[in-house]
């Protein structure tokens, strides 16, 4: 038996069960708070901070995806302070990563009037495309570090633990053990990471090849050869 909690979101009274996040509480009355890293079936970590809102009495902005409601809390989801933080995060992100295939972020850029050329001197995160297995490619120049792939590979779904992180800070990237090709890791090619990737950084190889202009027949030829050569040299690295 959980107690109900009443709070105010954007001047509207809202009553939800204890333990509800601000994000869910807002959604229950039709107030949409934007998210990027959040995924319904993944553990929320409050990474992207696009969902930040103003909570009365709080020194900093509060991430709605992880912050729980409390009695008489007063939340404002679209103050100038909130909008400024969201816009700046979008502008900084856009200067770092290729976001062209993420429709959600493209829409947010538009909604928050984010300037695409705000940080002209920024050094984008550059990575060569990793094509080391017949199933999917990894294009980390498109990676926003939402962690979803690492989480579904681990405790959120598959318990495979094939990928984790390299480096830290701005130069963090998703990585295998000692940068080994995926075929030499514990990866079972379940495809869950590809399924949750929001930006096209992880993509089925077939889709990628079709985007490059290959026909399905050509692709069949290529991947067959690849599979065969791999069978002959099981320890080969890509």
């Amino acid at each position: 038996m959980t107690d109900d909690i009443t709070l105010t979101i954007d001047e509207r009274p809202v009553t939800v069960p204890e333990g509800t996040t601000i994000l869910q509480a807002a959604k229950s009355v039709g107030i949409n708070i934007p998210t990027i890293c959040y995924h319904e079936f993944c553990t929320s970590n409050g990474l992207c901070r696009i969902c930040v809102v103003e909570v009365e009495g709080s020194r900093t902005l509060v991430p709605a995806c992880v912050a729980k409601v409390s009695q008489d809390m007063v939340v404002r989801t679209r103050t100038p302070r909130v909008v400024n933080a969201r816009r700046t995060i979008l502008e900084m992100l856009n200067a770092s990563v290729d976001l062209s295939e993420d429709e959600n972020i493209q829409d947010l850029m538009h909604e928050y009037a984010a300037d695409e050329a705000r940080f002209p001197l920024a050094e984008p995160r550059q990575h060569a495309i990793l094509d080391d297995n017949p199933m999917y490619i990894r294009d980390y120049a498109k990676c926003i570090l939402c962690w979803r792939c690492v989480q579904v590979c681990a405790d959120d779904a598959q318990y495979t633990y094939a990928i984790n992180f390299s480096g830290r800070g701005y130069h963090t990237s998703i990585s295998t053990y000692y940068d080994l090709p995926l075929t030499e890791t514990t990866c079972v090619f379940c495809g869950q990471c590809v399924g949750v990737c929001p930006t096209g950084a992880l993509k089925p190889k077939r889709e990628w090849l079709m985007e490059l202009g290959y026909t399905p027949d050509q692709i069949m030829q290529m991947t067959r050869t690849e599979r065969k050569s791999r069978m002959r040299r099981p320890q080969a690295s890509a």
Binding site: N45, G46, L47, C48, R49, I50, V52, T60, L61, P63, V66, R81, N84, A85, T88, I89, M92, L93, A95, S96, R118, F119, L121, A122, E123, I144, L145, A154, Y161, A162, I163, N164, F165, S166, G167, R168, G169, Y170, H171, T172, S175, T176, Y177, Y178, T185, T186
Partner: protein, 577 residues
């Protein structure tokens, strides 16, 4: 496969195995000692022995700058890259190194020497600071490379100036105060006294003393202890945060290398008060010597029974583990420090929940800074009332300040709260070096703010500094004379944050990088229209939206400079409309 070093490693790993994932950092340190780096074959053994997925071991190795996945060099020298050391000549040390030192191996093998730029090494009063294979040097600027490389140098000796001598009475003697001397000076009497009191009485003494945390956040210590004591769940932990890495801070280093038992005594009292039977002390990876001193002190305390089962015949038992960090400023953030002890990447957690209910291993935990704990024995021995006679009404007690930069007598200062900045800088520290004019003084470290001459009469207390818009932080007073380029200082602070951001939340991960890029461009090409607005937007976003204190303060020095010097980022040429 039968590499004898791998077999050595396996023997050690078998010892670590029962500890599980939490033994990861100790295992990696051990491996690196054996091999000089962490070879893949060794990392695989560690993963198997401690039951950690391979990719996660990789993630941890790659997070900490002092762990290497490739061979580096026979001798690794770390040179501090932060403002005070840079102005004292660390840059020219770098240049000389590449010009004069025969560091390349003859036949394409491993380099003999590798020079690495490092964040603040906590040796600011000996600028430019160097670590040679983990050993601190003194006065590197005046020494030849041959002497530096062969380790032919003196150990740094910190100048200590006292107006009160509660925390540093056993410091500055050139050698650690070991158990016998500590006991002879009244050591462990406070702990014995505490054992005769109820835990609640101990907590009420600490609450009555008004002691607040000295790590930077200034949270009331007694309230923290009470919260953990009352929190449901067991076991409970007490953790000493000795991950001192705020640029300009070296007080905890001096306390650890000089008076280790005072810190242990503070920890024992805290553990007894909250009902913890296990403690951890997490010491930054660059403080190898201090780690060894603490380890020896712990051994002494175990031998005479201050640490162990049924301490001094009481019902209280206590076990203490020392942990060595591996190069990550963010691990000074309390929840990142817990993650690191647990064998993970040092990423801060989302708060709430707070450590008093969900701390180390998810259990109720008290985490206190070294200096905070060092205050505790005095409070128990002399009573809260005596303690409150020192300092101000709202900031009771003594405070350690770390003076560095352009000051005649850089070093550690123990003063009562409430003396003025002028008193410390001019009466005690001899003023600005060479009689020059003070341009700016950074208070609180990289995460701090600038004071100027108008602030000289501000009293050094939490309340007075807050009113003046200055953070007390960890007690950093970094002085810059009128010849120093403020933009250079800001650039170096920005580089520090960009290198030390953990990368978890977007505002800090990207914001620290954008801040660095803008300041780099200004340093190279001058200020352009819009630079200042960009800096302000980035700083505001980091302050407002980052997860932890690192991101929330990564823009504070820039913001403070913009407020103090309106024209600092005035464009050289206005853009034509």
């Amino acid at each position: 496969m039968d590499d004898p070093k791998l077999m050595d490693l396996q023997t050690k790993l078998d010892e670590f195995a029962p500890t599980g994932r939490s033994a990861l950092l100790p295992a990696l340190h051990h491996t690196q000692k054996l091999f000089g780096y962490i070879p893949q074959a060794a990392a695989s053994r560690i993963a198997a022995s401690l039951h950690i997925p391979l990719a996660n071991v990789h993630g941890v190795i790659d997070f900490y700058t002092l762990f290497y996945r490739q061979p580096v060099a026979e001798t690794v020298i770390h040179v501090c890259n932060d403002p005070v050391c840079a102005f004292a000549g660390s840059d020219s040390l770098f240049k000389n190194f590449y010009r004069e030192v025969p560091h390349q191996a003859a036949s394409g093998g491993l380099e003999t020497i590798a020079l690495e730029r490092s964040p603040c090494l906590g040796l600011c009063e000996h600028a430019p600071a160097l670590l040679v294979q983990g050993m601190a040097t003194a006065g590197a600027a005046g020494q030849s490379w041959q002497d530096i490389i062969t380790g032919n140098f003196g150990r740094p000796h910190t100048q200590i100036t006292r107006e009160v001598d509660i925390l540093t009475s056993n410091c500055g003697k050139g050698a650690p105060t070991w158990l016998a001397a500590y006991e002879a000076s009244g050591g462990y009497q406070a702990f014995r006294k505490a054992l005769g009191m109820s835990p609640a009485e101990v907590i009420s003494q600490v609450k009555a003393s008004g002691l607040v945390g000295r790590g930077g956040a200034a949270f009331p210590t007694g309230v923290k202890w009470e919260g953990a004591a009352n929190a449901p769940g067991s076991p409970k932990y007490v953790v000493c945060n000795a991950d001192e890495a705020e640029p300009g801070t070296f007080k905890d280093r001096v306390m650890m290398e000089s008076d280790p038992h005072r810190i242990l005594e503070g920890m024992l009292i805290a553990a007894y008060a909250i009902g913890a039977n296990k403690g951890y002390m997490y010491i930054r990876g660059e403080y190898i010597h201090q780690f060894e001193v603490m380890a020896q002190a712990r051994q002494e305390a175990m031998t005479v029974g201050y640490i162990g089962e049924r301490v001094l015949g009481s019902d209280f038992s206590f076990d203490l583990e020392l942990r060595l960090g591996a190069g990550a400023y963010v691990c000074g953030e309390e929840t990142a420090l817990f993650e690191s002890i647990e064998g993970k990447r040092g990423l801060p957690r989302i708060k709430p929940p707070f450590p008093i209910t969900h701390g180390l291993f998810g259990k109720p935990t008290v985490i206190n800074n070294v200096e905070t704990l060092a205050n505790v024995p005095y409070i128990l021995s002399n009573g809260a009332e005596a303690y409150r006679k020192i300092g101000t009404e709202r900031s009771p007690g003594p405070k350690l300040f770390c003076l560095s930069g352009d000051v005649e007598k850089p070093g550690l200062y123990e003063v009562p709260f409430g003396v003025t900045f002028r008193h410390v800088l001019y009466d005690l520290a001899g003023g600005v070096r060479g009689g020059r004019k003070m341009q700016a003084t950074l208070f609180g470290g990289a995460a701090g703010a600038f004071a100027t001459e108008k602030d000289l009469d501000v009293r050094l207390s939490f309340e007075d500094l807050k009113a003046a818009g200055l953070p007390l932080g960890s007690g950093v007073i970094m002085v810059f004379d009128d010849s120093r380029d403020l933009k250079q200082i800001l650039l170096r602070l920005a580089r520090f944050f960009a290198e030390e951001s953990c990368g978890k939340c977007f505002p800090c991960q990207i914001g620290t990088q954008r801040q660095l890029e803008i300041l780099q461009n200004i340093a190279s090409y001058g200020t352009s229209a819009g630079d200042r607005e960009q800096l302000e937007d980035v700083a505001r976003t980091m302050t407002d939206a980052s997860i932890c204190g690192l991101g929330q303060t990564a823009g504070s020095a820039v913001m403070s400079a913009i407020q103090q010097w309106q024209d600092l980022f005035k464009p050289a040429r206005e853009r034509k409309e």
